[in-house]
Subunit: 211 residues, 2 copies
DNA sequence: GGGAACACTAAACGGGAATCACTCAGCCGT
DNA sequence: ACGGCTGAGTGATTCCCGTTTAGTGTTCCC
């Protein structure tokens, strides 16, 4: 985050002991706990204990609990954005790109359920909107990257109905619905997730895009 | 508000709520607060204040906070189940029934966002699984009612691909995804919700069902 | 009249996030 | 060499949460 003014000639001040390590240590510990126990499970005290420091110390490095979790989530969403960017440059049919992106998206969600829930299932109750703004912006950039091939499809006149934006929103939200239910209701007797993802993609793409 | 003039000698206690009157009062107050402020906002103390009673009093009538919210949610989901049952008996094409049910489902979600979030977006973190079991069972019954016409469609050989169960799960989760995003991210710049719902339904049904 | 059952209460507990007042160590310019 | 500044760290405290405990007043029944 904000790197405060450092003296040009020399490091402002040699960090004492493991001073500048702390922030990273906290993030690492917090991520481990967050992944294992979710938002509510990752308490300030637990994180502080894991680092071996008083709970107050966390406030030296972060404004509040949410900032810690948001920073972790941002990292994860950036990985998702990278994936999309990478797929975007693949020299294949735009429909194939759309499918690849959505597959990557759903796989990401199932691999990072807690982060996914925090960012996309709106810990809405739990987190004030301004704090989540950063991550939300990243999420939007993901959506924009995903929108590009959808617009390509529309430009080729292959959109069966609706505007390109609507189509993108529907494709995205449909896949979101599937993985969010798989994540939040794991105990329900679901069909095979891979098969469900395939049916969702086949269905939506066949329904929205002409061959 | 309730001006309880405490007479010096008499008790400051709120008069008895004639047995089960009180229970209803609590549910009504809790529902109002829950609808307005969501799960986290509906605290025991706030509900108790609204009723004009000490927070402890709520434990006379309910095991814990979750039971209160669950009872409220159950009522709402029962209304949804009623809707489905009603639609199920309509003498129309099974595809039309599926569409009607999903439309009713999404409308219900948008009309009862907090309940919907609690039940279907898994306050997973917040609520222990055993307490939510009742409502979850009701939700399952809704899904089963919805599955019937999908099976009808399959029985007529009109399912393009996938098993009937998979198709039902995909249809449901696709619609869930749309409304859950509309609910949890209201600030995002969405296209017209009605139009999105139409595109979702058209897309999924056209993609999964043959004419 | 005397219990017993009930509806209710105040006070407290433990655990969350966050703040306050403070200490302490190291680096600075003089 | 030294006093001052600053950033890292702490324990105590505040406030709110859900929930528990022990006790109080009312009513009903025998």
């Amino acid at each position: 985050m904000t790197v405060v003014l450092k003296k040009p000639q020399k490091s402002a001040r040699k960090p004492k002991g493991d001073g500048h390590m702390r922030r990273g240590e906290i993030l690492a510990a917090a991520e481990k706990i967050f992944i294992a126990e979710g938002y509510a499970g990752a308490t300030i005290r637990k994180i502080a204990d894991a680092v071996g420091v008083s709970s107050t110390a966390l406030y030296m490095h972060f404004r509040d609990k949410d900032q810690i979790l948001m920073e972790i989530s941002s990292g994860a969403i950036e990985r998702l954005l990278d994936l999309n960017t990478q797929i975007a440059s693949r020299p294949v049919d735009p429909v194939a790109r759309v499918r690849l992106m959505l597959e990557a998206y759903m796989k990401f969600a199932l691999d990072n359920p807690n982060t996914y829930q925090l960012v996309f299932c709106g810990g809405g109750d739990q987190i004030s909107p301004d704090k989540i703004a950063d991550v939300l912006a990243l999420g939007d950039r993901c959506f924009e990257k995903f929108s590009e091939p959808v617009h390509d499809i529309a430009a080729r006149g292959r959109l069966r109905s609706g505007s390109p934006v609507e189509a993108a929103e529907v494709l995205w939200s449909g896949c979101h619905g599937l993985v969010s239910l798989l994540i939040t209701k794991p105990s329900r007797g679901w069909s095979n997730p891979d098969q469900l993802m395939k049916v969702m993609l086949d269905g939506l793409l066949h329904g929205l895009v002409t061959d």
